[in-house]
Protein backbone atom coordinates (compact mmCIF):
# COMPACT_ATOMS: atom_id res chain seq x y z
CA UNK A 1 0.00 0.00 0.00
CA UNK A 2 2.83 2.35 0.96
CA UNK A 3 4.38 2.03 -2.46
CA UNK A 4 1.16 3.23 -4.01
CA UNK A 5 0.87 6.28 -1.79
CA UNK A 6 4.50 7.20 -2.40
CA UNK A 7 4.11 6.87 -6.15
CA UNK A 8 0.87 8.87 -6.07
CA UNK A 9 2.50 11.69 -4.16
CA UNK A 10 5.57 11.57 -6.34
CA UNK A 11 3.54 11.74 -9.50
CA UNK A 12 1.45 14.59 -8.13
CA UNK A 13 4.64 16.52 -7.43
CA UNK A 14 6.47 15.78 -10.63
CA UNK A 15 3.57 16.98 -12.80
CA UNK A 16 3.82 15.70 -16.27
CA UNK A 17 5.40 12.62 -17.66
CA UNK A 18 8.94 13.45 -18.55
CA UNK A 19 9.65 12.61 -22.14
CA UNK A 20 11.13 9.17 -22.16
CA UNK A 21 14.63 9.32 -23.50
CA UNK A 22 15.50 6.27 -25.50
CA UNK A 23 18.96 4.93 -24.87
CA UNK A 24 20.68 2.80 -27.48
CA UNK A 25 20.57 -0.27 -25.27
CA UNK A 26 16.79 -0.22 -25.15
CA UNK A 27 14.08 0.00 -27.75
CA UNK A 28 10.31 0.37 -27.66
CA UNK A 29 7.73 -1.05 -30.06
CA UNK A 30 4.02 -0.35 -30.22
CA UNK A 31 1.83 -3.25 -31.33
CA UNK A 32 -1.69 -2.14 -32.24
CA UNK A 33 -3.89 -5.21 -32.19
CA UNK A 34 -7.52 -6.32 -32.25
CA UNK A 35 -9.72 -7.35 -29.35
CA UNK A 36 -9.22 -11.05 -28.56
CA UNK A 37 -5.41 -11.08 -28.61
CA UNK A 38 -4.88 -9.39 -25.25
CA UNK A 39 -3.77 -12.52 -23.40
CA UNK A 40 -1.79 -13.85 -26.37
CA UNK A 41 0.43 -10.81 -26.85
CA UNK A 42 1.06 -10.38 -23.16
CA UNK A 43 2.84 -13.75 -23.29
CA UNK A 44 4.41 -13.30 -26.73
CA UNK A 45 5.87 -9.95 -25.66
CA UNK A 46 7.53 -11.41 -22.56
CA UNK A 47 8.99 -14.31 -24.53
CA UNK A 48 10.21 -12.12 -27.37
CA UNK A 49 11.84 -9.64 -24.97
CA UNK A 50 13.84 -12.48 -23.43
CA UNK A 51 14.79 -13.87 -26.82
CA UNK A 52 15.87 -10.46 -28.17
CA UNK A 53 17.87 -9.67 -25.04
CA UNK A 54 19.74 -12.98 -25.36
CA UNK A 55 20.49 -12.40 -29.04
CA UNK A 56 21.38 -8.71 -29.06
CA UNK A 57 21.76 -7.58 -25.45
CA UNK A 58 19.15 -4.93 -26.12
CA UNK A 59 16.12 -4.48 -23.86
CA UNK A 60 12.89 -4.28 -25.82
CA UNK A 61 9.63 -2.98 -24.38
CA UNK A 62 6.48 -3.72 -26.32
CA UNK A 63 3.47 -1.53 -25.67
CA UNK A 64 0.02 -2.82 -26.49
CA UNK A 65 -3.22 -1.29 -27.65
CA UNK A 66 -6.38 -3.37 -28.20
CA UNK A 67 -9.79 -2.63 -29.65
CA UNK A 68 -12.12 -3.49 -32.51
CA UNK A 69 -10.01 -4.24 -35.60
CA UNK A 70 -11.54 -1.53 -37.78
CA UNK A 71 -11.33 1.08 -35.06
CA UNK A 72 -7.67 0.27 -34.42
CA UNK A 73 -6.83 0.68 -38.11
CA UNK A 74 -8.56 4.06 -38.01
CA UNK A 75 -6.39 5.17 -35.06
CA UNK A 76 -3.21 4.22 -36.91
CA UNK A 77 -4.41 6.16 -39.97
CA UNK A 78 -5.02 9.15 -37.69
CA UNK A 79 -1.49 9.01 -36.36
CA UNK A 80 -1.23 6.41 -33.60
CA UNK A 81 2.42 5.45 -34.15
CA UNK A 82 2.20 1.68 -34.32
CA UNK A 83 5.44 -0.03 -35.34
CA UNK A 84 3.50 -3.19 -36.10
CA UNK A 85 -0.18 -3.98 -36.54
CA UNK A 86 -1.69 -7.39 -35.77
CA UNK A 87 -5.32 -7.08 -36.84
CA UNK A 88 -8.41 -9.25 -37.28
CA UNK A 89 -8.57 -9.27 -41.06
CA UNK A 90 -6.54 -8.32 -44.10
CA UNK A 91 -9.02 -5.63 -45.19
CA UNK A 92 -8.10 -3.51 -42.19
CA UNK A 93 -4.40 -3.58 -43.09
CA UNK A 94 -5.28 -2.78 -46.71
CA UNK A 95 -6.88 0.38 -45.32
CA UNK A 96 -3.42 1.42 -44.05
CA UNK A 97 -2.09 1.05 -47.58
CA UNK A 98 -4.91 3.08 -49.12
CA UNK A 99 -4.92 5.87 -46.53
CA UNK A 100 -1.59 7.63 -46.43
CA UNK A 101 0.51 4.70 -47.65
CA UNK A 102 1.58 3.75 -44.13
CA UNK A 103 2.13 0.13 -45.14
CA UNK A 104 3.75 -1.08 -48.36
CA UNK A 105 1.20 -2.41 -50.91
CA UNK A 106 2.73 -5.89 -51.01
CA UNK A 107 2.64 -6.41 -47.26
CA UNK A 108 0.77 -9.69 -47.45
CA UNK A 109 3.64 -11.47 -49.19
CA UNK A 110 6.26 -10.08 -46.77
CA UNK A 111 5.85 -12.87 -44.19
CA UNK A 112 5.04 -16.53 -44.72
CA UNK A 113 1.49 -17.89 -45.07
CA UNK A 114 -0.03 -14.65 -46.34
CA UNK A 115 1.44 -12.85 -43.33
CA UNK A 116 -0.83 -14.79 -40.98
CA UNK A 117 1.31 -16.61 -38.40
CA UNK A 118 -1.68 -18.24 -36.73
CA UNK A 119 -5.26 -18.94 -37.77
CA UNK A 120 -8.53 -19.47 -36.07
CA UNK A 121 -12.04 -20.43 -37.01
CA UNK A 122 -15.60 -19.75 -35.99
CA UNK A 123 -17.31 -22.19 -33.65
CA UNK A 124 -20.27 -22.22 -31.24
CA UNK A 125 -20.35 -21.75 -27.51
CA UNK A 126 -23.48 -23.03 -25.75
CA UNK A 127 -24.66 -23.25 -22.15
CA UNK A 128 -23.63 -26.31 -20.13
CA UNK A 129 -25.30 -29.51 -21.30
CA UNK A 130 -26.43 -27.84 -24.53
CA UNK A 131 -30.12 -27.52 -23.48
CA UNK A 132 -31.25 -26.43 -26.96
CA UNK A 133 -29.43 -29.30 -28.65
CA UNK A 134 -27.40 -27.14 -31.03
CA UNK A 135 -25.10 -29.24 -33.22
CA UNK A 136 -24.65 -27.44 -36.53
CA UNK A 137 -25.46 -24.28 -38.47
CA UNK A 138 -28.98 -25.57 -39.25
CA UNK A 139 -29.91 -25.52 -35.58
CA UNK A 140 -29.22 -21.76 -35.35
CA UNK A 141 -32.28 -20.87 -37.44
CA UNK A 142 -34.73 -22.95 -35.40
CA UNK A 143 -37.50 -20.95 -33.74
CA UNK A 144 -36.75 -19.97 -30.15
CA UNK A 145 -32.97 -20.15 -30.45
CA UNK A 146 -31.23 -16.89 -29.58
CA UNK A 147 -27.90 -16.35 -31.35
CA UNK A 148 -25.33 -13.86 -30.05
CA UNK A 149 -22.95 -12.32 -32.59
CA UNK A 150 -21.47 -8.82 -32.85
CA UNK A 151 -22.20 -6.25 -35.53
CA UNK A 152 -20.32 -6.94 -38.81
CA UNK A 153 -20.23 -3.20 -39.48
CA UNK A 154 -17.82 -2.62 -36.60
CA UNK A 155 -16.40 -6.02 -35.70
CA UNK A 156 -13.92 -8.12 -37.65
CA UNK A 157 -14.99 -11.27 -35.78
CA UNK A 158 -18.60 -10.67 -36.76
CA UNK A 159 -17.64 -10.52 -40.43
CA UNK A 160 -15.94 -13.91 -40.14
CA UNK A 161 -19.10 -15.24 -38.38
CA UNK A 162 -21.32 -13.97 -41.16
CA UNK A 163 -19.14 -15.38 -43.93
CA UNK A 164 -18.83 -18.74 -42.14
CA UNK A 165 -22.62 -19.05 -42.03
CA UNK A 166 -22.87 -17.89 -45.65
CA UNK A 167 -20.28 -20.41 -46.82
CA UNK A 168 -22.07 -23.24 -45.03
CA UNK A 169 -25.41 -22.31 -46.59
CA UNK A 170 -23.82 -22.05 -50.02
CA UNK A 171 -22.55 -25.63 -49.75
CA UNK A 172 -25.81 -26.90 -48.36
CA UNK A 173 -28.03 -25.30 -51.01
CA UNK A 174 -25.49 -25.86 -53.82
CA UNK A 175 -25.10 -22.15 -54.46
CA UNK A 176 -28.83 -21.35 -54.78
CA UNK A 177 -28.59 -17.66 -53.88
CA UNK A 178 -32.25 -17.20 -52.86
CA UNK A 179 -32.01 -20.12 -50.43
CA UNK A 180 -28.70 -18.89 -49.00
CA UNK A 181 -30.19 -15.46 -48.39
CA UNK A 182 -33.25 -17.10 -46.84
CA UNK A 183 -31.00 -18.97 -44.42
CA UNK A 184 -29.03 -15.83 -43.44
CA UNK A 185 -32.25 -13.84 -42.97
CA UNK A 186 -33.61 -16.52 -40.65
CA UNK A 187 -30.32 -16.52 -38.76
CA UNK A 188 -30.36 -12.74 -38.31
CA UNK A 189 -33.97 -13.04 -37.15
CA UNK A 190 -32.69 -15.06 -34.18
CA UNK A 191 -30.11 -12.44 -33.15
CA UNK A 192 -31.56 -10.31 -30.33
CA UNK A 193 -28.70 -7.81 -30.01
CA UNK A 194 -25.65 -6.80 -32.07
CA UNK A 195 -22.74 -5.71 -29.86
CA UNK A 196 -20.06 -3.57 -31.43
CA UNK A 197 -17.13 -5.95 -30.80
CA UNK A 198 -16.30 -9.60 -30.18
CA UNK A 199 -15.43 -8.96 -26.54
CA UNK A 200 -18.74 -7.15 -25.99
CA UNK A 201 -20.66 -10.14 -27.35
CA UNK A 202 -18.70 -12.55 -25.22
CA UNK A 203 -19.45 -10.60 -22.05
CA UNK A 204 -23.13 -10.36 -23.11
CA UNK A 205 -23.27 -14.13 -23.43
CA UNK A 206 -21.05 -15.22 -20.54
CA UNK A 207 -21.50 -12.48 -17.96
CA UNK A 208 -24.99 -11.15 -18.68
CA UNK A 209 -26.27 -14.62 -19.66
CA UNK A 210 -27.95 -13.45 -22.85
CA UNK A 211 -28.85 -15.92 -25.62
CA UNK A 212 -28.48 -19.67 -26.21
CA UNK A 213 -25.46 -19.80 -28.51
CA UNK A 214 -22.50 -17.51 -29.12
CA UNK A 215 -20.80 -17.46 -32.49
CA UNK A 216 -17.19 -16.97 -31.49
CA UNK A 217 -13.59 -17.09 -32.51
CA UNK A 218 -12.25 -20.48 -31.50
CA UNK A 219 -9.58 -18.75 -29.40
CA UNK A 220 -12.18 -16.59 -27.67
CA UNK A 221 -14.33 -19.64 -26.85
CA UNK A 222 -11.27 -21.42 -25.42
CA UNK A 223 -10.59 -18.42 -23.22
CA UNK A 224 -14.19 -18.30 -21.96
CA UNK A 225 -14.00 -21.96 -20.94
CA UNK A 226 -10.74 -21.17 -19.15
CA UNK A 227 -12.10 -18.06 -17.38
CA UNK A 228 -15.66 -19.05 -16.57
CA UNK A 229 -15.05 -22.75 -16.06
CA UNK A 230 -17.79 -25.25 -16.39
CA UNK A 231 -20.78 -23.12 -17.36
CA UNK A 232 -20.31 -23.61 -21.09
CA UNK A 233 -19.72 -26.23 -23.77
CA UNK A 234 -18.00 -25.81 -27.11
CA UNK A 235 -19.88 -27.10 -30.15
CA UNK A 236 -17.91 -27.66 -33.35
CA UNK A 237 -20.01 -27.33 -36.51
CA UNK A 238 -19.56 -29.61 -39.51
CA UNK A 239 -17.93 -26.86 -41.54
CA UNK A 240 -16.54 -23.37 -40.95
CA UNK A 241 -14.27 -20.66 -42.29
CA UNK A 242 -10.50 -20.45 -41.91
CA UNK A 243 -10.04 -17.07 -40.24
CA UNK A 244 -6.68 -15.52 -41.01
CA UNK A 245 -5.72 -12.59 -38.76
CA UNK A 246 -2.71 -11.00 -40.45
CA UNK A 247 0.30 -9.02 -39.22
CA UNK A 248 2.29 -6.24 -40.86
CA UNK A 249 5.11 -3.78 -40.29
CA UNK A 250 3.98 -0.16 -40.51
CA UNK A 251 6.74 1.02 -42.83
CA UNK A 252 6.34 4.76 -42.36
CA UNK A 253 6.50 4.45 -38.59
CA UNK A 254 9.45 2.04 -38.30
CA UNK A 255 11.46 4.21 -40.68
CA UNK A 256 10.74 7.22 -38.50
CA UNK A 257 11.52 5.39 -35.24
CA UNK A 258 14.45 3.43 -36.68
CA UNK A 259 12.87 0.21 -35.40
CA UNK A 260 12.59 -1.82 -38.60
CA UNK A 261 15.04 -4.51 -37.52
CA UNK A 262 13.42 -5.26 -34.18
CA UNK A 263 9.89 -5.01 -35.65
CA UNK A 264 10.88 -7.52 -38.30
CA UNK A 265 12.31 -9.85 -35.65
CA UNK A 266 9.19 -9.46 -33.50
CA UNK A 267 6.80 -10.54 -36.25
CA UNK A 268 9.17 -13.31 -37.36
CA UNK A 269 9.18 -14.55 -33.76
CA UNK A 270 5.45 -15.27 -34.16
CA UNK A 271 6.46 -18.00 -36.64
CA UNK A 272 9.22 -19.50 -34.46
CA UNK A 273 8.56 -22.78 -32.63
CA UNK A 274 8.45 -20.90 -29.32
CA UNK A 275 6.00 -18.30 -30.67
CA UNK A 276 3.85 -20.98 -32.30
CA UNK A 277 3.69 -22.87 -29.04
CA UNK A 278 2.48 -19.78 -27.15
CA UNK A 279 -0.14 -19.18 -29.82
CA UNK A 280 -1.36 -22.79 -29.56
CA UNK A 281 -1.58 -22.50 -25.79
CA UNK A 282 -3.75 -19.40 -26.27
CA UNK A 283 -6.13 -21.35 -28.54
CA UNK A 284 -4.90 -19.99 -31.87
CA UNK A 285 -4.21 -22.64 -34.53
CA UNK A 286 -0.46 -22.76 -35.17
CA UNK A 287 0.97 -22.91 -38.71
CA UNK A 288 4.04 -24.97 -37.76
CA UNK A 289 3.17 -28.64 -38.49
CA UNK A 290 5.17 -29.95 -35.53
CA UNK A 291 3.50 -27.63 -33.04
CA UNK A 292 0.15 -28.30 -34.66
CA UNK A 293 0.63 -32.01 -34.15
CA UNK A 294 1.59 -31.54 -30.53
CA UNK A 295 -1.59 -29.59 -29.79
CA UNK A 296 -3.84 -31.53 -32.20
CA UNK A 297 -6.23 -32.59 -29.47
CA UNK A 298 -7.02 -28.93 -28.64
CA UNK A 299 -8.09 -28.18 -32.18
CA UNK A 300 -10.87 -30.40 -33.48
CA UNK A 301 -10.72 -31.27 -37.16
CA UNK A 302 -13.25 -29.21 -39.11
CA UNK A 303 -13.77 -28.90 -42.81
CA UNK A 304 -12.48 -25.37 -43.38
CA UNK A 305 -12.93 -23.14 -46.42
CA UNK A 306 -10.92 -19.95 -46.99
CA UNK A 307 -12.20 -16.53 -47.89
CA UNK A 308 -10.30 -16.71 -51.18
CA UNK A 309 -11.97 -19.96 -52.19
CA UNK A 310 -15.54 -18.95 -51.45
CA UNK A 311 -15.62 -15.17 -51.60
CA UNK A 312 -12.72 -14.08 -53.78
CA UNK A 313 -10.79 -12.45 -50.93
CA UNK A 314 -11.58 -9.49 -48.68
CA UNK A 315 -11.38 -6.93 -51.44
CA UNK A 316 -14.44 -8.57 -52.98
CA UNK A 317 -16.26 -9.80 -49.86
CA UNK A 318 -16.12 -6.48 -48.02
CA UNK A 319 -18.08 -4.36 -50.56
CA UNK A 320 -20.43 -7.17 -51.53
CA UNK A 321 -21.51 -8.07 -48.02
CA UNK A 322 -20.62 -5.36 -45.52
CA UNK A 323 -20.45 -1.93 -47.15
CA UNK A 324 -23.59 0.21 -47.11
CA UNK A 325 -26.27 -1.50 -49.13
CA UNK A 326 -24.44 -4.87 -49.08
CA UNK A 327 -26.12 -8.19 -48.35
CA UNK A 328 -25.93 -7.64 -44.59
CA UNK A 329 -27.88 -4.38 -44.82
CA UNK A 330 -30.45 -5.91 -47.18
CA UNK A 331 -31.03 -9.09 -45.18
CA UNK A 332 -30.97 -7.40 -41.79
CA UNK A 333 -33.79 -5.11 -42.95
CA UNK A 334 -35.80 -8.14 -44.13
CA UNK A 335 -35.43 -10.27 -41.03
Amino acid sequence: MNKIIVSLVASALVLGIAAKTQAADSVTLLNVSYDPTRELYQRINDAFAKDWKAKTGQTVTINQSHGGSGKQARSVIDGLEADVVTLGLAGDIDALVQNGGLVAPKWQSHFANNSTPYTSTIIFLVRKGNPKGIKDWDDLVKPGVEVITPNPKTSGGARWNYLAAWGYAEDKYHGDKAKVEGYITALLHNVPVLDSGARGSTTSFAQRELGDVLLAWENEAGLVIQEFGDNFDIVVPSESILAEPPVAIVDKVVDKHGTRKVAEAYLTFLYSPEGQEIEAKNHFRPRDPKVAEKYAKDFPKIKLFTIDQKFGGWSKAQPEHFNDGGTFDQLYAKR
Binding site: I4, S7, G16, N63, G67, D78, G79, L80, T203
Partner: protein
Protein backbone atom coordinates in the same frame (compact mmCIF):
# COMPACT_ATOMS: atom_id res chain seq x y z
CA UNK B 1 -45.80 26.43 15.33
CA UNK B 2 -42.19 27.40 15.71
CA UNK B 3 -40.76 30.27 13.76
CA UNK B 4 -37.95 28.22 12.27
CA UNK B 5 -40.36 26.14 10.22
CA UNK B 6 -40.29 27.61 6.79
CA UNK B 7 -43.42 25.82 5.61
CA UNK B 8 -46.79 25.10 7.12
CA UNK B 9 -47.00 21.57 5.74
CA UNK B 10 -48.13 18.94 8.21
CA UNK B 11 -45.44 16.86 9.82
CA UNK B 12 -46.23 13.67 7.84
CA UNK B 13 -45.71 15.46 4.56
CA UNK B 14 -42.30 16.65 5.69
CA UNK B 15 -41.29 13.17 6.82
CA UNK B 16 -42.59 11.46 3.68
CA UNK B 17 -40.75 13.88 1.43
CA UNK B 18 -37.52 13.47 3.38
CA UNK B 19 -37.79 9.69 3.25
CA UNK B 20 -38.52 9.79 -0.45
CA UNK B 21 -35.43 11.88 -1.09
CA UNK B 22 -33.33 9.51 1.01
CA UNK B 23 -34.73 6.49 -0.80
CA UNK B 24 -33.93 7.91 -4.22
CA UNK B 25 -30.46 8.82 -2.99
CA UNK B 26 -29.88 5.31 -1.65
CA UNK B 27 -31.22 3.65 -4.77
CA UNK B 28 -29.43 5.72 -7.38
CA UNK B 29 -26.25 6.81 -5.61
CA UNK B 30 -25.32 4.70 -2.63
CA UNK B 31 -26.36 1.32 -4.01
CA UNK B 32 -24.39 1.46 -7.30
CA UNK B 33 -21.36 2.85 -5.47
CA UNK B 34 -21.58 0.09 -2.88
CA UNK B 35 -21.86 -2.52 -5.65
CA UNK B 36 -18.68 -1.25 -7.23
CA UNK B 37 -16.77 -1.55 -3.97
CA UNK B 38 -18.28 -4.94 -3.09
CA UNK B 39 -17.36 -6.29 -6.54
CA UNK B 40 -13.85 -4.92 -6.11
CA UNK B 41 -13.44 -6.83 -2.86
CA UNK B 42 -15.36 -9.93 -3.97
CA UNK B 43 -12.25 -12.09 -4.39
CA UNK B 44 -10.57 -10.82 -1.25
CA UNK B 45 -8.54 -7.73 -0.42
CA UNK B 46 -5.32 -9.35 -1.66
CA UNK B 47 -6.57 -9.62 -5.23
CA UNK B 48 -7.65 -5.97 -5.18
CA UNK B 49 -4.29 -4.84 -3.85
CA UNK B 50 -2.55 -6.91 -6.51
CA UNK B 51 -4.42 -4.86 -9.12
CA UNK B 52 -3.16 -1.71 -7.50
CA UNK B 53 0.41 -2.90 -7.73
CA UNK B 54 0.02 -3.59 -11.42
CA UNK B 55 2.24 -1.19 -13.41
CA UNK B 56 -0.47 -0.38 -15.95
CA UNK B 57 -2.94 0.56 -13.23
CA UNK B 58 -0.36 2.72 -11.47
CA UNK B 59 0.50 4.52 -14.66
CA UNK B 60 -3.21 5.06 -15.38
CA UNK B 61 -3.61 6.67 -11.95
CA UNK B 62 -0.51 8.78 -12.57
CA UNK B 63 -1.73 9.87 -15.98
CA UNK B 64 -5.18 10.80 -14.68
CA UNK B 65 -3.68 12.92 -11.91
CA UNK B 66 -1.24 14.54 -14.34
CA UNK B 67 -3.98 15.44 -16.77
CA UNK B 68 -6.11 16.90 -13.96
CA UNK B 69 -3.14 18.80 -12.51
CA UNK B 70 -2.49 20.49 -15.84
CA UNK B 71 -6.03 21.11 -17.04
CA UNK B 72 -7.62 22.31 -13.79
CA UNK B 73 -5.18 25.23 -13.22
CA UNK B 74 -5.53 26.20 -16.89
CA UNK B 75 -9.29 26.32 -16.57
CA UNK B 76 -9.01 28.11 -13.23
CA UNK B 77 -7.06 30.94 -14.86
CA UNK B 78 -9.27 30.95 -17.91
CA UNK B 79 -12.55 30.80 -15.97
CA UNK B 80 -11.49 33.53 -13.59
CA UNK B 81 -10.38 35.93 -16.30
CA UNK B 82 -13.41 35.22 -18.48
CA UNK B 83 -15.92 35.82 -15.72
CA UNK B 84 -14.04 38.91 -14.55
CA UNK B 85 -14.08 40.37 -18.03
CA UNK B 86 -17.72 39.49 -18.58
CA UNK B 87 -19.11 40.82 -15.33
CA UNK B 88 -16.94 43.85 -14.57
CA UNK B 89 -16.63 45.36 -18.03
CA UNK B 90 -18.90 46.24 -20.90
CA UNK B 91 -17.66 45.43 -24.37
CA UNK B 92 -19.13 44.43 -27.72
CA UNK B 93 -19.54 40.70 -28.29
CA UNK B 94 -20.00 40.00 -24.59
CA UNK B 95 -23.06 37.80 -24.97
CA UNK B 96 -21.35 35.93 -27.78
CA UNK B 97 -18.47 35.15 -25.43
CA UNK B 98 -20.90 33.86 -22.80
CA UNK B 99 -22.51 31.49 -25.32
CA UNK B 100 -19.12 30.35 -26.61
CA UNK B 101 -18.04 29.37 -23.11
CA UNK B 102 -21.01 27.02 -22.92
CA UNK B 103 -20.29 25.13 -26.13
CA UNK B 104 -18.51 22.23 -24.40
CA UNK B 105 -21.66 21.63 -22.33
CA UNK B 106 -23.87 21.26 -25.35
CA UNK B 107 -21.52 19.20 -27.51
CA UNK B 108 -21.18 15.43 -27.07
CA UNK B 109 -17.76 14.51 -25.60
CA UNK B 110 -17.10 12.18 -28.53
CA UNK B 111 -17.31 15.14 -30.88
CA UNK B 112 -15.02 17.12 -28.57
CA UNK B 113 -12.44 14.39 -29.04
CA UNK B 114 -12.95 14.11 -32.78
CA UNK B 115 -12.32 17.84 -33.20
CA UNK B 116 -8.75 17.27 -32.06
CA UNK B 117 -8.29 14.23 -34.29
CA UNK B 118 -9.44 16.31 -37.25
CA UNK B 119 -7.10 19.14 -36.27
CA UNK B 120 -3.99 17.27 -35.16
CA UNK B 121 -4.41 13.77 -36.61
CA UNK B 122 -1.94 12.53 -39.20
CA UNK B 123 -4.39 13.42 -41.95
CA UNK B 124 -5.76 16.44 -40.06
CA UNK B 125 -5.29 20.14 -40.67
CA UNK B 126 -2.02 20.51 -38.75
CA UNK B 127 -0.98 16.85 -39.02
CA UNK B 128 1.74 17.21 -41.69
CA UNK B 129 3.26 20.24 -39.94
CA UNK B 130 3.39 18.37 -36.63
CA UNK B 131 5.09 15.41 -38.31
CA UNK B 132 7.71 17.67 -39.87
CA UNK B 133 8.49 19.16 -36.48
CA UNK B 134 8.39 15.80 -34.75
CA UNK B 135 5.63 16.78 -32.34
CA UNK B 136 2.89 14.54 -31.07
CA UNK B 137 -0.45 15.88 -29.87
CA UNK B 138 -3.10 13.23 -30.19
CA UNK B 139 -2.42 9.73 -28.89
CA UNK B 140 -0.13 11.43 -26.32
CA UNK B 141 -0.33 13.56 -23.18
CA UNK B 142 -0.97 16.91 -24.93
CA UNK B 143 -4.04 15.49 -26.70
CA UNK B 144 -5.43 14.08 -23.47
CA UNK B 145 -4.93 17.45 -21.77
CA UNK B 146 -6.48 19.38 -24.68
CA UNK B 147 -9.56 17.16 -24.74
CA UNK B 148 -9.94 17.44 -20.97
CA UNK B 149 -9.47 21.21 -20.96
CA UNK B 150 -12.09 21.52 -23.68
CA UNK B 151 -14.65 19.39 -21.88
CA UNK B 152 -14.13 21.08 -18.49
CA UNK B 153 -13.91 24.58 -19.96
CA UNK B 154 -17.18 26.00 -18.59
CA UNK B 155 -17.12 24.71 -15.00
CA UNK B 156 -15.25 27.56 -13.29
CA UNK B 157 -16.74 30.33 -15.41
CA UNK B 158 -20.32 29.06 -15.05
CA UNK B 159 -19.87 29.05 -11.29
CA UNK B 160 -18.38 32.55 -11.10
CA UNK B 161 -20.38 34.58 -13.62
CA UNK B 162 -23.73 34.60 -11.70
CA UNK B 163 -21.89 35.22 -8.44
CA UNK B 164 -19.92 38.17 -9.77
CA UNK B 165 -22.97 39.55 -11.50
CA UNK B 166 -24.87 39.53 -8.23
CA UNK B 167 -22.06 41.31 -6.42
CA UNK B 168 -21.93 44.09 -8.98
CA UNK B 169 -19.00 46.47 -9.53
CA UNK B 170 -19.58 48.92 -6.69
CA UNK B 171 -16.76 47.72 -4.48
CA UNK B 172 -14.23 47.65 -7.32
CA UNK B 173 -15.28 51.14 -8.40
CA UNK B 174 -14.86 52.38 -4.83
CA UNK B 175 -11.36 50.88 -4.74
CA UNK B 176 -10.43 52.53 -8.01
CA UNK B 177 -11.71 55.89 -6.76
CA UNK B 178 -9.58 55.47 -3.65
CA UNK B 179 -6.54 55.04 -5.86
CA UNK B 180 -6.07 51.27 -6.21
CA UNK B 181 -4.85 49.90 -9.53
CA UNK B 182 -6.89 47.38 -11.55
CA UNK B 183 -4.80 44.46 -10.44
CA UNK B 184 -4.93 45.52 -6.80
CA UNK B 185 -8.73 45.83 -6.97
CA UNK B 186 -8.95 42.36 -8.48
CA UNK B 187 -6.59 40.83 -5.95
CA UNK B 188 -8.00 42.39 -2.76
CA UNK B 189 -11.66 42.74 -3.66
CA UNK B 190 -12.91 40.59 -6.51
CA UNK B 191 -10.98 37.45 -5.67
CA UNK B 192 -11.81 37.31 -1.93
CA UNK B 193 -15.46 37.95 -2.72
CA UNK B 194 -15.76 34.94 -5.01
CA UNK B 195 -13.35 32.52 -3.38
CA UNK B 196 -16.05 30.05 -2.33
CA UNK B 197 -17.64 29.98 -5.74
CA UNK B 198 -14.18 29.58 -7.21
CA UNK B 199 -13.40 26.64 -4.96
CA UNK B 200 -16.64 24.97 -5.90
CA UNK B 201 -15.99 25.51 -9.60
CA UNK B 202 -12.49 24.10 -9.33
CA UNK B 203 -13.74 21.00 -7.51
CA UNK B 204 -16.42 20.34 -10.12
CA UNK B 205 -13.87 20.91 -12.86
CA UNK B 206 -11.45 18.52 -11.20
CA UNK B 207 -14.08 15.81 -10.73
CA UNK B 208 -14.98 15.94 -14.40
CA UNK B 209 -11.34 16.15 -15.51
CA UNK B 210 -10.51 12.92 -13.68
CA UNK B 211 -13.68 11.13 -14.74
CA UNK B 212 -13.91 12.13 -18.41
CA UNK B 213 -14.28 9.13 -20.71
CA UNK B 214 -15.68 9.95 -24.15
CA UNK B 215 -13.46 12.77 -25.41
CA UNK B 216 -10.35 11.22 -23.90
CA UNK B 217 -11.17 7.82 -25.39
CA UNK B 218 -11.13 9.27 -28.90
CA UNK B 219 -7.67 10.87 -28.58
CA UNK B 220 -6.05 8.24 -26.35
CA UNK B 221 -5.02 5.41 -28.67
CA UNK B 222 -5.47 3.11 -25.64
CA UNK B 223 -1.82 2.15 -25.26
CA UNK B 224 -1.48 0.31 -21.96
CA UNK B 225 0.78 1.97 -19.45
CA UNK B 226 1.20 5.05 -21.67
CA UNK B 227 -2.01 6.74 -22.80
CA UNK B 228 -4.70 5.04 -20.73
CA UNK B 229 -6.34 7.24 -18.14
CA UNK B 230 -8.08 5.61 -15.19
CA UNK B 231 -11.61 5.62 -16.70
CA UNK B 232 -10.24 4.04 -19.91
CA UNK B 233 -8.29 1.53 -17.87
CA UNK B 234 -11.50 0.44 -16.11
CA UNK B 235 -13.01 -0.44 -19.49
CA UNK B 236 -9.88 -2.30 -20.59
CA UNK B 237 -9.72 -4.39 -17.42
CA UNK B 238 -13.41 -5.20 -17.73
CA UNK B 239 -12.90 -6.41 -21.28
CA UNK B 240 -9.90 -8.46 -20.12
CA UNK B 241 -12.35 -10.46 -17.94
CA UNK B 242 -10.51 -8.97 -14.97
CA UNK B 243 -13.65 -7.95 -13.13
CA UNK B 244 -11.96 -7.54 -9.77
CA UNK B 245 -9.36 -5.30 -11.39
CA UNK B 246 -11.97 -3.26 -13.23
CA UNK B 247 -14.03 -2.64 -10.12
CA UNK B 248 -10.94 -1.91 -8.04
CA UNK B 249 -9.85 0.72 -10.55
CA UNK B 250 -13.40 2.09 -10.52
CA UNK B 251 -13.28 2.26 -6.73
CA UNK B 252 -10.05 4.27 -6.93
CA UNK B 253 -11.78 6.67 -9.28
CA UNK B 254 -14.71 6.98 -6.86
CA UNK B 255 -12.24 7.43 -4.01
CA UNK B 256 -10.49 10.29 -5.80
CA UNK B 257 -13.86 11.98 -6.21
CA UNK B 258 -14.60 11.38 -2.55
CA UNK B 259 -11.29 12.97 -1.54
CA UNK B 260 -12.23 16.13 -3.43
CA UNK B 261 -15.61 16.16 -1.73
CA UNK B 262 -14.09 15.68 1.72
CA UNK B 263 -11.59 18.46 0.99
CA UNK B 264 -14.43 20.81 0.16
CA UNK B 265 -16.40 19.90 3.28
CA UNK B 266 -13.32 20.28 5.45
CA UNK B 267 -12.57 23.72 4.01
CA UNK B 268 -16.14 24.78 4.55
CA UNK B 269 -15.98 23.56 8.12
CA UNK B 270 -12.72 25.35 8.92
CA UNK B 271 -14.11 28.60 7.61
CA UNK B 272 -17.66 28.14 8.80
CA UNK B 273 -17.83 31.43 10.76
CA UNK B 274 -16.69 33.47 7.85
CA UNK B 275 -19.01 31.56 5.53
CA UNK B 276 -22.01 32.19 7.77
CA UNK B 277 -21.28 35.92 7.89
CA UNK B 278 -21.04 36.18 4.12
CA UNK B 279 -24.35 34.39 3.62
CA UNK B 280 -26.70 36.76 5.37
Amino acid sequence: MSVSNATREPRWVQITLTLLALLVLALFLVLPLATVIIQALSKGVDRSIATLENQDTLSAIRLTLTVALISVPLNLIFGLSASWAITKFTFPGKSLLVSLIEIPFSVSPVISGLIFVLLFGLRGLFGPWLIDHDMKIIFALPGLVLATVFVTFPFVARELIPLMEEQGRDEEEAALVLGAGGFRAFWSITLPNVRWGLLYGVLLCNARAMGEFGAVSVVSGHVRGLTNTLPLHVEILYNDYDFVGAFTAASILALLALVTLILKTALEWWHRDELASSRH
